[in-house]
């Protein structure tokens, strides 16, 4: 009897000793390259945990490109179809195509108006994802941009437009490299830029309306890309283009600006290599923070995103440490950074050029028509 009482006292004591706040695990699932997982695990997570005792941030990566977002979509969709009461993803980071599909399938919760940082976003991408209305459901984590990287030792005057590029590769065969449409988004983005420049329907591709009859125009512009491809090198993936540039095997190629700067900062890239954003433009895209419709910890998820979108985190984490363009309006971010750190982001590509030649990806339907057209016309 006595021992049982002692035991219960001990158990009570054990309960009293645990902190009042219950342990919450915030599951953050992110599409994209490894740097996305690193960002949450090494930067965002620890800071958020420090501010919110009892909360543990756990980040999982689902892989690069749209396929990463597709995996998140399939997981949420499965939980929706199974009728689960709560879903085990609290915050997801997805691409535009993924976000558009998820909003369409009612897998997400509108939250922008619930958090303070929701008022800091200004770009059109916060409302529109490849033609789909995502207003209220998403906040851009950052914007990234595709640009040509070139070695100025080999290329004195980089081509300023797609027309000049087509001439340039004929004079310098096998010096331009890109990764096709099956090896990552920098190659896909180049193809989108090519079609926008050569089909004369740049605006229509971005703003719609979708016209299935435009397939013929798209395929015609891809015929010239087939000719172009004879003079270029095919690289194995986004990192493959950077690798070949660094080894001097190609002199120029399309790359993601953030990857380029990160490689540069890590000493993996020849420091002489520079960037150029040709006319009429190359696509870029944001990654979005979204909250699943039945997230188990929705309130904490909102708090997490509010923190991640704060000007301080956007300045120090997104711009300074990870070399992305900010997700919120730059005016709130610039004042939080010393001029050197801010200017580093715009060394080769000025804010004006970025505003003019940084394009969104085409509407989903056009996107599909272009990549399938590439397979049908260019690869045959």
């Amino acid at each position: 009897m006595k021992s049982r009482m002692l035991l219960s006292v001990a158990v009570l004591g054990l309960f009293a000793a645990t902190p009042a706040v219950a342990q919450t695990t915030l599951n953050v699932v992110t599409a994209g390259d490894q740097n996305m997982v690193d960002y949450v695990n090494n930067y965002l997570g620890p800071r958020f945990e420090k501010m919110n005792p009892g909360v543990q941030v756990r980040a999982v990566g689902t892989g690069p490109g749209d396929s990463g977002s597709q995996k998140i979509y399939e997981k949420l969709s499965a939980q929706q179809k199974a009728g689960a009461a709560t879903w085990d993803v609290d915050v997801a980071v997805v691409h535009q195509r993924g976000a558009a599909t998820m909003v369409g399938d009612k897998l997400l919760m509108p939250y922008r108006n619930d958090i303070a940082a929701g008022k800091l976003v200004s770009r059109d991408t916060a409302k529109n994802a490849l033609g789909a209305d995502v207003d209220g459901y998403v906040l851009p984590m950052f914007h990234s941009q595709i640009a040509f990287a070139y070695n100025p030792d080999l290329v004195k005057a980089p081509p300023k437009s797609f027309g000049e590029l087509a001439e340039w590769v004929k004079k310098n065969p096998k010096q331009f490299g890109y990764n096709g449409v099956k090896g990552g988004m920098s190659g896909v983005g180049f193809v989108m830029g090519w079609v926008a420049a050569n089909s004369g329907m740049g605006d229509k591709l971005e703003k719609g309306p979708y016209d299935p009859a435009a397939k013929a125009t798209i395929e015609k512009s891809l015929t010239s890309l087939k000719d172009f491809n004879q003079y270029v090198v095919m690289t194995p993936g986004n990192a493959g283009t950077l690798d070949m540039l660094n080894r001097g095997e190609i002199a120029m190629g399309p790359v993601w600006v953030d990857m380029f700067y990160t490689w540069m900062a890590d000493g993996k890239m020849n420091p002489k290599v520079k960037l150029e954003l040709p006319s009429p433009g190359l696509p870029g895209q944001p990654m979005y923070y979204v909250i699943p419709a039945k997230a188990a910890n929705a309130a904490m998820a909102k708090k997490f995103i509010d923190f991640a979108e704060s000007p301080e985190v956007q300045a120090d984490g997104i711009v300074k440490q990870f070399n992305w363009y900010p997700g919120i309006d730059p005016q709130y971010v610039q004042s939080k950074l010393e001029p050197a750190a801010w200017n580093k982001l715009f060394t080769d590509i000025s804010p004006a050029t970025l505003a003019k030649n940084g394009r969104p990806f085409p509407l989903s339907q056009y996107f599909t028509d272009i990549v399938e057209g590439y397979e049908r016309v260019v690869l045959k």
């Binding site: 096709g180 090896g183 095919m234 194995p236 990549v371 397979e375």
Partner: protein, 307 residues
Amino acid sequence: MSSKGPPRAAHPAPSGGGGSAAAKPQAWRSLSTYWPALALVTPALVVVGVFFVVPLLLSAIGAFRAADGGFTLAHFEKSLELYTRDLVFTLGIVALSTVLIALVATAIAGYLTLGESPRAVAVLRWLYRWPLFIPFVVTGQVMRTFLAKNGMLNHALIGTGLIEPISAQSMLDWRGIVIAFVWKQAPFVTLLVAGAMAALAREHIEAARNLGAPRWRVLVEIVLPQVRGTLLVGLVLSFVTMLSVLSVPLMINPNSPTMITVDVAYRINTFADYAVANALCLLSLLVAAFGAAFYLRHAVRRAESGA
């Protein structure tokens, strides 16, 4: 892969036979002796059924199902329209790799069996197995830097004066895939073939050597015919394995022409188009089926001959 084949029905059950069973009718007796065998094999059958046969059937059905649920051949039309070249390319790469693997494996196993320098044999025996323990994805990654235009291979060739720097070229195309496959799969076939060669009676080899036959003739005319079956089985297994590898073509050459596995991943990842992906899978299954049919025929023949 065991030459014993399926469990022999003739084996009596370990217990429960006894005198009483003898009194029962013939059919009942055979059933009761089967029970333990059935019980033993059921878990394996269930696992194969649930995790292999059912998904395979679902995938096959998906390849013929239209968006409205009806029957269609549209997915196959699309597959053939867009990916015929990749199918041919896949077949070509895998066939060429299989031939090269046969040559390399025969050469290595032959030297292990007929080599006269014990030290060289020991070193070779130790070395050739290494790639067996390296996953395909790592092989792909290694080859990516090894075979690049300014990669290690070309540096070595230029350094030794074998090629001029200007003629160095990247091998990150079909050649890279073939090199990666041969490097990875040859040791596996060698392992099987060398084992079979070691089990041969030495009299024929020694008789031929005594009569003055050079080693290559002994290998081609005496040893190889006796291990032909093992070599073929090893090659068929490699053929089927290589057909299904995604990581190597993805890392070395994901652009057209590329292997069909890359296209399957691409249809799913970029378009969420499982229907065409399923059709492509069925088409490559058809190719693999040739290998499987050959393997089964050979295995059955061996089982029947009691080997």
